[in-house]
Symmetry: C2
Subunit: 462 residues, 2 copies
C-alpha cells in the first residue's frame, strides 16, 4: 500500500502541506491571514444570529459530546467535527466572508477546521495554527483553480463545498501532524465527500450557508480517520475512473494545482468583502457607486441600467425573478445594483426584507438589464469584471468599468478597514472592550514562538 509507483497530484499536495513551515511564509501572507481571521470571526459571530445560523448551532448543541472545541459566543463545547459544522455555516451565513476568484469562500471552511482542531489538540502555537490556515487555503484554492472554476460552477457545483473538503483536511491534518501518506489519505477521504449543489437560487433555500460547514466537517473527519489508519484513495483528483477532476468538471486544468506552489501563496489573493452580496456582484456595485458618487444622478431620473459581465456571473446572479428570501437578495445582481443606487452601499442592513421587498426597489430592479460581454467573459475568472452603463430619462449616459472589485488582491482592504467592518458587524453582539481584546490578540498573533492559540479560543467563549 505504501509503495506508490508514481507521485500523484494529491501526494504532491500532501508533501507540500507536510513540509510547510512558519519561516517559509512571506510577511504579507501572515498579515493577510490575520485580516482574514478577524474578518472570518466577525462574520461568524454575526452570522450565528441569523435563523439558519441559529438552527445549525442548535442542532450541534443538541448532539452534545466530547468537549473539544468552543462554539463561538456560547458556553458550549463539543466535538471539533460538529462545532466546525456550525461555525462554517455561521461564517458564511451572510455571504459576507472572504472569497477567492477560484469561486470559493475559504475562510468559512478553513478557519473552523484549523481552530476547532487546534483547540481539540491543545498546546498548538499561534504559528502552527497560522501555518495550518495557510495550508488549508492553498490546498482548497488550488484544487479550485485546477478543477476549472467557471466550468465546474456551470455544471452546477458550489466550489466552496466541493473543493472545501480538501482544504479542511489539509488544515486539520496539519494540526494533527499527519505524515505524507496519511495526509494523502486524508485528502482522499475528504475528496470522496465533496458535495454542494447550486440549486438553492431558485427558491432561495438556505443550503448555500451549510456548504462550508459541511465541507469543514468532512475534512476534519477525513484527517482524524486517516490518522487512525483509514486509507483514502491517493488518486482522488486524477483517477480516470472516479477522480474528482473528471466527475466535477468537463475541462479540468491539472497544471494549476501545483503551479508555483510554496512560492506564490494564493491566500494572499483572497478578497475580503466590503459588500454583503455575492462576490460576483462586487464589480457592478463598485461601478454603480462610482457613477452615483461622481455624477449625482437622482434615482427617479434613471431610465435604464445595463450591466455587462461574464457568462458565469450572468448565470449565477443575473436571474430575473425578484428576491423572496435573504439568500436571493444576496445572490441577485439586479438587487445588488439597485441597492447600491438606493442606499449608496450594500451592507447587511440592506439585505432585510423591508429593503428587498420594497415596491420602489422592485421598480428599480426592473430597469436593470444584464448582458454577457465576450471580452469580460474571456477574462473570467482571473478577473471578476463588470461594466455598468446608466442611462437617464434625459438621455445622458454614464459608464464605469471595474476589472477588479474593491477588496480583491488588486484593491485590498487595509487592516483598519477590516477592523471597521468587524466592529460594525459585532456592535451589539460583543462588548467593545471584548472586541478590542480580540482585535489586539489577532493583530499580535505569532509574535512569540511559544504563544498558544488557546488564548484566542478563550476570547470566543461567553
Amino acid at each position: 500500500m505504501s509503495d506508490y509507483k508514481y507521485p500523484t497530484p494529491s501526494l504532491e499536495l500532501a508533501r507540500f502541506v507536510c513540509s510547510l513551515r512558519y519561516d517559509s511564509l512571506p510577511v504579507q501572507v501572515v498579515d493577510k491571514i490575520k485580516s482574514i481571521l478577524l474578518d472570518g470571526i466577525a462574520c461568524g459571530c454575526y452570522g450565528r444570529t441569523k435563523p439558519w445560523g441559529k438552527m445549525v448551532y442548535e442542532f450541534v448543541q443538541e448532539l452534545g459530546g466530547k468537549e473539544e472545541a468552543t462554539l463561538w459566543l456560547t458556553d458550549f463545547k463539543g466535538p471539533a467535527v460538529n462545532v466546525a459544522l456550525a461555525l462554517g455555516t455561521a461564517i458564511h451565513a451572510f455571504d459576507y466572508d472572504d472569497y477567492h476568484k477560484s469561486k470559493l469562500h475559504p475562510a468559512s471552511v478553513i478557519i473552523p477546521a484549523a481552530l476547532t482542531m487546534a483547540e481539540r489538540e491543545g498546546g498548538v502555537t499561534t504559528r502552527q495554527f497560522l501555518v495550518a490556515l495557510v495550508a488549508g487555503y492553498e490546498v482548497m484554492i488550488r484544487v479550485g483553480l485546477s478543477v476549472n472554476p467557471g466550468v465546474s460552477r456551470l455544471k452546477g457545483w458550489h466550489l466552496t463545498g466541493t473543493c472545501g473538503v480538501f482544504g479542511s483536511a489539509a488544515a486539520a491534518g496539519k494540526i494533527l501532524g499527519l505524515d505524507e501518506e496519511q495526509m494523502a489519505w486524508a485528502l482522499g477521504i475528504a475528496g470522496t465527500q465533496a458535495s454542494g449543489l447550486w440549486a438553492f437560487n431558485y427558491d432561495g433555500a438556505m443550503t448555500k450557508r451549510l456548504h462550508p460547514g459541511r465541507a469543514s466537517q468532512s475534512g476534519i473527519m477525513a484527517a482524524i480517520l486517516a490518522k487512525k489508519g483509514f486509507t483514502g484513495p491517493i488518486r482522488i483528483l486524477d483517477a480516470e475512473d472516479g477522480g474528482f477532476w473528471r466527475a466535477t468538471s468537463d475541462k479540468p486544468v491539472p497544471e494549476k494545482l501545483l503551479q508555483a506552489i510554496g512560492k506564490k501563496f494564493e491566500c494572499a489573493d483572497t478578497c475580503i468583502k466590503p459588500y454583503a452580496s455575492c462576490g460576483s456582484n462586487h464589480a457592478a456595485i463598485d461601478a454603480v457607486r462610482a457613477i452615483m458618487a461622481n455624477q449625482h444622478v437622482a434615482v427617479t431620473d434613471i431610465e435604464k441600467i445595463i450591466v455587462f459581465t461574464s457568462r458565469v456571473i450572468k448565470t449565477q446572479t443575473g436571474f430575473d425573478y425578484l428576491p423572496a428570501t435573504v439568500l436571493q437578495a444576496q445572490m441577485s445582481l439586479k438587487y445588488a445594483v439597485s441597492a447600491a443606487i438606493m442606499f449608496g452601499n450594500v451592507l447587511p442592513e440592506h439585505m432585510e426584507e423591508k429593503c428587498f421587498g420594497h415596491p420602489d426597489m422592485r421598480r428599480l430592479m426592473e430597469k436593470v438589464e444584464i448582458v454577457v460581454d465576450p471580452e469580460m467573459d474571456s477574462l473570467y475568472p482571473e478577473h471578476f469584471c463588470s461594466k455598468v452603463l446608466m442611462i437617464t430619462k434625459d438621455g445622458k449616459r454614464y459608464q464605469v468599468r471595474i476589472n477588479d472589485p474593491l477588496g480583491s488582491e488588486e484593491r485590498p482592504l487595509k487592516w483598519d478597514d477590516v477592523v471597521n467592518k468587524a466592529s460594525n458587524l459585532l456592535r451589539g453582539i460583543m462588548a467593545e472592550s471584548h472586541f478590542n481584546k480580540l482585535v489586539e490578540g489577532i493583530k499580535n498573533l505569532a509574535r512569540a514562538e511559544d504563544e498558544d492559540i488557546g488564548a484566542i479560543c478563550k476570547l470566543l467563549k461567553i
Copy 2:
C-alpha cells in the same frame, strides 16, 4: 416560500413518502424487507469486526454525545447522526450487503437511518419502521434509476453515496413525521450533500465502505434540520443550474423517478448477495460455478477463461492489476472468477490475503480475459449479465451465460437462505440463542399494530 408554482420532482417524491402507509404495502414487499433487515443487520455485525469498521466505530464512540441510538453489539449509545455513520460503514464493510440494479446498496444507507431515528424518537411501531424503510428504499432507488445509473457511474460516481442521501432523508423524515414541504426541504438538504467518488479501486482504499455511512448521516441531518425550519431547494433534482441530475449525469432519465410509484415497489427487486464480491461479478461467479459443478474440469487443465459482459462492469471490476487489498479482491472480476474456480464459492473467508495473495491464485487470474459484449451491454443495467467461456488445455470449450445472478429479483434467495447466510456471518460474534431471538423477532415483525421497534434495538446491544 410555501407557494410553489409547480410540482417539482422532489415535491412529488415528498408527497409519496408522506402519504405512504403500512396498509398499502403488498405482503411480498413486507416479506422482502424482513429478509433485507436480517441480512443488513448480519452484514453490519460482521462488518464492524473489520479494521475499517472498527475505525469508524471508534471515531463515533470518541465523539460521545446524546444517547439516542445503539451502536450495534456495543454498550455505547450516541446521537443517531453519528451512530448511523458507523452502522452504514459496518453494513457495507464487506460488500456483502444487498444491492439493486440501479447500482446502489440500499440497506447500508436506509437501515441505519430508519433504525437510529426510530430509537431516537421512541414509541415507533414496527409498522411505522417498515414503512420508513420502504420509503427510503423507493426514494434512493428511484433517484438512482432517474440519474441513469450506468452513465453516472462511468462519470466516476458511487451511486450508493450520491443517491443514498435522498433515501436516508426520506426514511429519517418519515420517522420524524415531516410534512410535505419539510420533506421536500429534507430531500434538498440531503441532495446538496450528495457525494461518493469511485477513486478507491486503484489503490484499494477503504473509502467505498464509508460512503453509505456518510450518506445515511447526511440524510438524517437533512431531516432534522428541515424539521427545525431549515429550508432546502425544492428543485434539487431538476434545477438546470445546480440540480443533481445535471451535475452527476450527462444523460438523466427523469421519467424513471416516479414511474409507477406506489404501485411497483423497487425494494422488492433488491438483490441479497450470496457472494462476498461486488454485485457486478455475481453473474460471472454463477456461470463459473455452473461450469465447475457440471463439467468437473480440473483447475490445472484450464487454459483460458473469457468473461463476456457489459462496458460498465468491465470498467468497474475488470481491472488488470492483482488485488493488493481486500477492497480490490472484492471488486476484481478476475479474482471473483478465479476464487469461484479454486474454492467453488466466493464467501467472506475467500477474501483474505492468504487467498488473494496466493501464487496459484495469481497464476489463475492471469488466464482470465474480460471482453465487452455489445448485446449484454445493451441490456445493462436492467440485467447484470455475464457469459463465461472456459477453454481447457485439450481444447474443450464450456460456456454458460447468466442473465440475472443468484439473489436477484429473478432468482431470489429464500428466507431460510438469508437466515443461513446470517448465521454463517454471526458465528462467533453472537451467541446462538441470541441470534435465534433476533431471527424470530425480525420474522414476526409487524404482527401487531402497537409492537415497538425498540425490542429489536435492545437485541442489538451487548
